[in-house]
Every structure is written in structure tokens, then in C-alpha cells.
Amino acid sequence: MSTKSPISPTVRVQSEDFDPGLEGQRLTAGRKDVGALVSFTGLCRDESGRLSALELEHYPGMAEAELTRIAEEACRRWPLTGLTVIHRFGKITPGNNIVLVIAASSHRRASFEAADFLMDYLKTRAPFWKKEHLASGQDDGWVKAKNADDEAMKRWT
């Protein structure tokens, strides 16, 4: 992760919601070289009524820094024309947005792979932690990290 990133990705860590459509427009407005835009939105689910909310804790400063490192690595690996990563923190209720990744490129394959890569790396390396608030009012607990996420990341090495 040493050479300079060919483009500057947009990285934001915020409690406010984001607008996936608007963020996509920002990567294409006034351009004629973008052929493919892949957008991933991660949302809070209620898991069939089990959850009333997720509480996202993060490491301020490092969250932005690590997301930027991952995003710049994606910009080195694929010929992207634009890349946006937004991750929310705080209490998020079911049906609401948690994370957004948008990769723009001249070609479809690069956009798909970059967005997929970003999500795999983000899950295992970005300093965010989810705590569950249960609809039953019973004890809340921290979400456990999945081995499957670690395995998914290895696809890219």
C-alpha cells in the first residue's frame, strides 16, 4: 500500500444518513468517461423482529484513516474514475442505511470488483463495532465477527 493512489476517493464517517442516488450522481456529473457505476448499500435489518436497533461504535480518526487506506488500495488495483465510501455510526434502526460504497469506472468488471473488494476489506479492517438492541428488551450484545468475512477477504490476496 505504498505507491500513490491514482485518484482521490471520497471517504466519510458520519452519524447522518446518506443519499445513494445523490452520491452516484456526483461520480458521473459532467463526465463522459464513466461507463459503469456499482453501488453497494448496507442496511440495518430487524432479523425477523429480533432487533430493535444496531448501535455502531467507531474509532474516530482511525475509521476515516483505515477506510481511506482501503479505498486508495482499490484505486491502485482497478482503473476507477471515482470511488465513494460512507460509513455511519451511532444508533441505526431497521430499514435504515449503514454503509455505502460506490465504484465508478469505464468498464463494468472494474466497478464490480472494486466495490466487492471494498466491502470485504471494510468488514474485517475498518474499526466499527455493532451492538444489538433487542426488541424483547433482553440483554444487548456485541455482534460477533464472522470467520466467513476473514475468508472472503482472502479472495483478494
Partner: protein
């Protein structure tokens, strides 16, 4: 050195951060963890499953054998679950 805790590590330790003067004998992350465990029962409990805990030095991920060097901030937390 500024020490920060997140998620269940923070809850177990009972504080979000603290500042420690480290003796010269504490050279690596593992040395630092060994020192932290001696502070009190809560620290000892937080670091009981030592290998499960992830570490960052100056906001960069590192392994437990990393040398502290000139780092001014160390952070301890569980495996991440964002996204």
C-alpha cells in the same frame, strides 16, 4: 502513552481511555498487554482472551509482536463488525 479501548474491551476495562508512563522494559504490544493486565481485575478480565484482541498503534493495525517505537497512541478492541 495514550491507551484507548473500544466495544466490549472498553466495557470490560470500564474506561474509554487512560494515559500511562511506560517503563523502558515495555517494548512491544505484547509487553504492553502484560502490563495492562496488572493494573486491576477489570483490565485482567478484559485481556483474558488475549489473542482475540486486536491492536492499533497510532491508528494503524498491528500484530501483538509489533514494537511500540515512537507510537503515542495504542488502541485495543475486538475483531471488527462494521459494514
Amino acid at each position: 502513552m495514550n491507551i484507548r479501548y473500544f466495544a466490549w474491551v472498553r466495557e470490560k476495562v470500564g474506561i474509554e481511555e487512560e494515559t500511562l508512563d511506560l517503563p523502558d522494559s515495555v517494548k512491544t504490544v505484547a509487553d504492553l498487554i502484560a502490563l495492562l493486565k496488572t493494573i486491576d481485575d477489570r483490565h485482567a478480565a478484559a485481556f483474558e482472551e488475549e489473542e482475540a484482541i486486536r491492536v492499533a498503534l497510532d491508528q494503524m493495525h498491528v500484530e501483538h509482536d509489533e514494537v511500540l517505537g515512537t507510537a503515542t497512541e495504542a488502541a485495543f478492541f475486538p475483531p471488527m463488525t462494521g459494514g
